[in-house]
Symmetry: C2
Subunit: 183 residues, 2 copies
């Protein structure tokens, strides 16, 4: 999928107009292991990225981004201030991106762009709220199983240690969960 296809899919639910993409989209790539800069908003054409945060004791992974998803350091993008999170390419990533300034200009007058941005932020909110609830109400095994079921095709490209960091458990505990699920 491309960014234009995602935009079209969302905006066509609410308009019968001919849909043109008003943003200047840049396509670029990030090598595996590089930092994805936080000043732009991205659409993942291919690849996997992680969002990390440094806590008192260690580095935590608080999000993964997969193919066909919008992503960015949203708090930092929305407030245009430096952030304490970092986005890294876990695999080679091909992305499309646009700038905050161009988006803000469009948001002052474009109904379609407001609908698109609202729906993307709703989805980001729902994902974040679900993660909070899942941490409180589901076991690590249940959370891993759900991740496996929804992203089976991607999850094999993420190391056990990274998945464990995301689930908030020790890699040994995750290995035990995986063995139990296979048997």
């Amino acid at each position: 999928m491309s960014f234009y296809e995602l935009y079209h899919q969302i905006v066509s639910q609410t308009t019968s107009n001919n849909i043109q993409l008003p943003l200047s989209i840049m396509e670029h790539t990030f090598k595996k292991g590089t930092v994805i800069t936080e000043k732009r908003a991205y659409f993942m054409k291919e690849g996997i990225a992680e969002m990390t945060i440094k806590s008192y004791t260690s580095e935590k992974i608080i999000d993964f981004f997969f193919q066909d998803e919008m992503f960015c350091s949203l708090s930092s993008f929305l407030t245009q201030s430096p952030s304490n999170v970092q986005i890294n390419a876990i695999t080679a990533c091909t992305v499309e991106s646009f700038t905050y300034i161009e988006l803000q200009d469009l948001l002052t007058y474009s109904l379609e762009m407001n609908q698109f941005a609202r729906i993307i932020i709703e989805q980001a909110y729902l994902k974040k709220a679900k993660r909070e609830k899942d941490f409180l109400c589901k076991t690590a095994e249940e959370r891993y199983l759900e991740m496996f079921n929804t992203h089976k095709e991607f999850i094999l490209n993420i190391s056990v240690s990274k998945i464990a960091k995301y689930l908030g458990i020790h890699p040994e505990s995750l290995s035990r969960i995986r063995k139990k699920l296979i048997s």
Copy 2:
């Protein structure tokens, strides 16, 4: 503040039009201790509410809502499906509210309503993301102090046990923190 004043404040940043409120707003009250139903979106004119979730072991408080804030069970409101959270009036609450159906209809054509809804959801996202980061990067004492500084006038109306549940610590630990801060 009223809901109309909040709407005007947000929408006037992006339009020079005469701003009319297109939603039917209902004002009502909830007695202290009652459940605030999840089907509508609310603006808090006066009072304090909490959002609770039942985890494996106990009930947790994941949010407080104060005067002049929009609130609802947002995941449930956005997806119009039952939720595993509950909103309760901690004090007597006077609220203004509107329905999902009326909002959705407006979102198909109103630029201003899309701008308003987008900004409200951005704020909800930022609050949720901040809570996640604070849990990872700040001590309970730092989080309490921040809560105290931003909501000093309201916090005295919330019991120690509820604040401790929100911070994810034992009430005894919170009492120690409070004593230390006073001395």
